[in-house]
Amino acid sequence: MEKRTDKNSYTILFATAMVVIVGSLLAFLASSLEPKINENKRIEKQQNILYAMGVNENEGKNSVAFVKPDKVAEEFNKYIKKQLVITNGLDTVVDNEAYLIDVKKEQAKAKLGEVRRLPLFIGVKDGKKYYVAPIRGKGLWDAVWAYVAMDENMIIQGAYFDHKAETAGLGANIKERFFMDDFIGEHLLNDKGVFKGVTISKSNADPINKIKDDNEVDAIAGATITGDGVSAMIKSDLKLYQPYFENLKTN
């Protein structure tokens, strides 16, 4: 005898009901949690920017610890003195919500030939000025991005790297201290003042990274494509800030 659940009509009815129930459950969940998730993302951006300029709660030489979420707003106002939006290389506008600019969307705009807005955060810590820029590129599996803090001469003062889905233990190590700290002191320009970026190199004979003006840091074994992605985003995105820094010197 044919079972009730084998009928075509029942199957279609069940499938329809399932889609409606599961769909509305997930939609309800997503929309009710969305404000909270967005708030978390906003806090994370502020934490990342502060981390790059050395405002963090790191303990020892391996930990990566941000300012606590409940303190971040206060610290952000304290350390970040100015937020700029740069367009066409030189035109700057002060915008206190520049940190909310979505780098991914701006990159897409540039591809369509529209004007790309470049956010730049100017922070002061212990009397020293930091220029923090957000950059974004592609790793092996998905997006990689970073916040890079520089001084007036485009020498890196700190960096925070992150990724969406790089391989654990390999590419994902770009967010480990040993990799991020290698960038501190690295020059983005060569000795003639031409922008070179920082290349993640497998062949530089400098694993402890003593030479800071070679525009190279040591690569992570087994993470070639992630490393190439990081090199590429530094070259393409930070280069866009060079006119601003040149202008800074001549004025």
Binding site: T5, F14, L25, L33, D162, A168, G169
Partner: protein
């Protein structure tokens, strides 16, 4: 031996009917995430949750699922559970969800989950299905943790991120005697070789498991 009725549903998958070493399921995620011990443990816990709850849900609706589309229904159950876990973590434990990131999505691809839904939850009651789900997830988790332990120890010289063998760059600890990390251990194929070694050891100790 039995601690309570049906306790074999938990204990069997731990050894003699292990989903990875005996049934050879879930290999793809086992090799993707075992380069670090911490990632292995996190994945193991996530799978325990999804399989425990998933098996119960499938068992609950087992009598009303149309058999023609049962695989799709099971897939929907796993996918919905995984999305719920992902969203809730993002809202309430953002840092943790960042660390889990890719793994949460990987749970969907785990064939052990679909395998247990199909082979067990569709034919058994709630409590037995729950035990079976949790048991199989533990069996999967144990192998993951063993593989993760050896891969991280031999590949990076660390465990849970702590340098247990000394510092390879400053040449302290074991490295002072010329020991080197084996970078091969971090690459995916080595997970298969480690799993192979576990299978070898297990079948050598218990010859009943050897198939003709």
């Amino acid at each position: 031996m039995a601690l309570f009725k049906d306790s074999n549903l938990i204990s069997d998958p731990l050894a003699d009917n292990n989903p990875i070493t005996i049934q050879v399921l879930g290999i793809c995620s086992a090799l993707a995430i075992t380069a670090q011990l911490k990632a292995s443990i996190v994945m193991a816990i996530s799978v325990v949750f999804v399989m425990g709850v998933g098996n119960v849900v499938v068992s609950m609706i087992r009598n009303i699922i149309p058999s023609k589309i049962r695989i799709i229904v099971q897939l929907t159950v796993v996918a919905a559970l995984v999305i719920i876990v992902d969203q809730v973590l993002k809202a309430f434990s953002y840092q943790l969800s960042k660390e889990l990131g890719a793994f949460i999505g990987l749970i969907i691809t785990n064939c052990i989950i679909m395998g247990r839904f199909e082979a067990f939850a569709l034919a058994n009651g709630l409590w037995r299905s729950f035990l079976d789900g949790v048991g199989n997830a533990f069996g999967y988790g144990i192998i993951l943790i063993i593989v993760g332990f050896f891969r991280e120890l031999l590949g990076s010289g660390t465990l849970m991120g702590y340098a247990v063998l000394g510092d390879p760059i400053e040449k302290t600890g074991l490295y002072a005697y010329g020991y080197e990390n084996n970078g091969f251990m971090l690459l995916a194929p080595m997970a298969l070789i480690v799993v192979g070694l576990i299978i070898w050891v297990q079948r050598a100790r218990n010859t009943d498991l050897i198939e003709d």
